[in-house]
């Protein structure tokens, strides 16, 4: 069974990483006095997303559903979060690489092209969706039903075996 204190700790860590992500997405364009600042912000942001992915998978592994062997069930339930997080991670890295490539010599340069603008919009939209789905999943995994036997789980198990 998931301990309340552990869950609170993990949840606060997840929210901290999400807040950092939101903060960098919002204000990274302002903090470009030197290219290094943006580079560091971006690197930490990507690592934060990676950490969040690792944490959510560790939480999956901790559930009774997973330990009962119903990995597919768990992934089916949270496939939205998993896919969106992966997509967002890919979009973030590509945008960061592109922006840093353009701004590395002169951070005050006007670098926007239509392609960059499009990628920017998609990355920021994905960030909002990622935030929503990730937050929801993290909160959802606090449900004690994921950590114990239940009739629902047995039914699912029977369906899988069939």
């Amino acid at each position: 069974m998931l301990q309340t204190s552990n869950y609170s700790l993990v949840l606060s860590l997840q929210f901290l990483l999400l807040s950092y992500d939101l903060f960098v997405n919002s204000f990274s364009e302002l903090l470009r006095m030197a290219p290094v600042i943006q580079l560091v912000l971006f690197i930490i942001q990507d690592i934060a997303v990676l950490f969040n992915i690792i944490i959510i998978f560790l939480m999956f592994f901790n559930t009774f559903v997973f330990q009962a062997g119903l990995v597919n069930l768990l992934f089916r339930k949270f496939k939205g979060t998993i896919i969106l997080t992966a997509v967002y991670f890919a979009l973030s890295i590509s945008l960061h690489v592109w922006v840093m490539n353009l701004r590395w010599k002169n951070s005050k340069r006007f670098v926007w092209t239509d392609g960059l603008q499009t990628l920017f919009v998609f990355q920021r939209l994905a960030a909002v969706l990622y935030c929503y789905f990730y937050k929801r999943t993290a909160v959802r995994l606090g449900d004690p039903r994921f950590y114990q036997d239940s009739l629902w789980l047995r039914k699912e198990f029977m369906q899988v075996r069939r």
């Binding site: 302002l30 449900d143 629902w152």
Partner: protein
């Protein structure tokens, strides 16, 4: 009351709730032979004791006599005969048995008169508890567990005979906890079994579900704040733009000059607030349950509409990032390397102003929609409500399979 003198030591029961359907305690039957036994052993002066105490769950224990201290450690314990009624708990059993065994080997005697005297009050307190409880059967003592031996013939009393003798119900029950048997008080266990119906309602004060719920509500509060703040900011922004642009956008260079320090910070702030508001609005309609969200949207539910408007506003606002950066980097066209060629201002700024106006209208409308039903939160209803009726079953722990509700995504 069969005479089972040569019985192998019984293994401890695997689970505490092993069903034994006999009367928990059978006092009158037992009492008589026991006094006989002790008297008999007294008459034998403790040379060999026939009444062997087996460390089963069904033996009652008097307090350990302080006079009966072991004089030397003895290793052979369970297989030897030893005097009865010296055992108290699982841990003290060993000590006591070694003590009594030693006495046997050394030919020491026990005080026979003392044991029945000590035991009487104990038994009385025992009997009252199980009698009034239905669960007592499970935790009680089986009749055949209690072995008495009335015969004290010398041929049986060899040192190497298998354990025989009297056993009595003990106050301990051995419960398997984390792969180890631990002695638990029988009366306590009976009490807890009895009180389950009462304690069922007393939940652990702070569960993971409560944490999740409180976090969810805290975020909803932040979202509520950001809805209003965003609407105000957007309207203020549009007002500032139109004031700076002058009558019929006649003074665009002035707008650029004045607004260029404000443009990018405001764009960032707008994104932050829009992101918060959008996530909060999605929470309210529970977007992850697509069918419910679409149904609500088609039914023109204000919250669903607000979510859609927020998302549109977010997209529109993001699409102006390039222009915002251009304004941010504004230098008069006379300056070398300026992004703003002569006469390009209106062409660039016109759509930007319109988009800002539309965004302000959208977030204002969303705020109005949301504030018309500020309490609506489908996520909370769908995610957490189904848990409520399940909780009694869960806390009981006896039948956790009642609810077939699947936890939502």
């Amino acid at each position: 009351m069969g005479r089972k003198q040569v019985r192998p030591p019984r293994a401890l029961p695997p689970v505490p709730s092993a069903i034994q359907d006999d009367i928990p305690l059978s006092r009158p039957k037992k009492k008589k032979p026991r006094t006989k036994t002790t008297l008999a052993s007294a008459s034998l002066e403790g040379l060999v004791q026939t009444a062997v105490h087996r460390p089963s769950e069904g033996s009652e224990l008097p307090t350990k006599d302080p006079r009966e201290h072991p004089e030397a450690p003895v290793q052979r314990r369970q297989k030897k005969t030893r005097p009865p009624l010296e055992l108290e708990t699982a841990s003290t059993q060993k000590k006591a048995s070694s003590a009594s065994l030693l006495r046997n080997e050394n030919g020491l005697s026990v005080e026979p008169a003392e044991d029945p005297v000590i035991q009487k009050p104990r038994r009385k307190t025992k009997k009252t508890q199980p009698a009034e409880l239905q669960y007592a059967d499970e935790l009680g003592v089986e009749d055949e567990d209690i072995i008495t031996d009335e015969q004290n013939s010398p041929e049986q009393q060899s040192v190497f005979t298998a354990p025989t003798g009297v056993s009595q119900p003990v106050g301990k029950v051995f419960v398997e906890k984390s792969r180890r048997f631990q002695a638990a008080d029988r009366s306590e266990l009976i009490k807890t079994t009895e009180n389950i119906d009462v304690s069922m309602d007393v939940k652990p004060s702070w569960t993971t579900r409560d944490v999740a719920l409180s976090v969810h509500r805290a975020f909803r509060m932040i979202g509520l704040f950001s809805h209003g703040f965003l609407a105000g900011c957007a309207v203020w922004n549009v007002v500032v733009i139109y004031v700076l642009a002058g009558d019929r956008l006649s003074d665009l260079p002035n707008l650029l000059q004045q607004y260029k320090t404000l443009a990018y910070p405001f764009q960032s702030l707008l994104y932050l607030l829009l992101a918060l508001s959008t996530v909060s609005a999605f929470d309210r309609i529970d977007l992850a349950k697509t069918s419910v969200a679409i149904r609500n949207f088609l039914a023109l539910d204000p919250t669903a509409l607000a979510s859609f408007l927020y998302f549109t506003a977010l997209t529109l606002s993001l699409s102006q990032q390039m222009t915002s950066d251009r304004i941010h980097l504004y230098t008069p066209s006379s300056v070398n390397g300026s992004l703003w060629a002569e006469g390009i201002e209106e062409q660039v700024l016109q759509p930007w102003i319109v988009v800002n106006l539309v965004v302000a209208v959208l977030v204002g409308l969303s705020w109005l929609f949301l504030s018309s039903r500020p309490g609506m939160d489908l996520s909370e209803e769908l995610m957490f409500s189904s848990d409520v009726e399940e909780y009694p079953d869960k806390d009981k722990g006896i039948k956790p399979l009642h609810n077939a509700n699947s936890p939502s995504e």
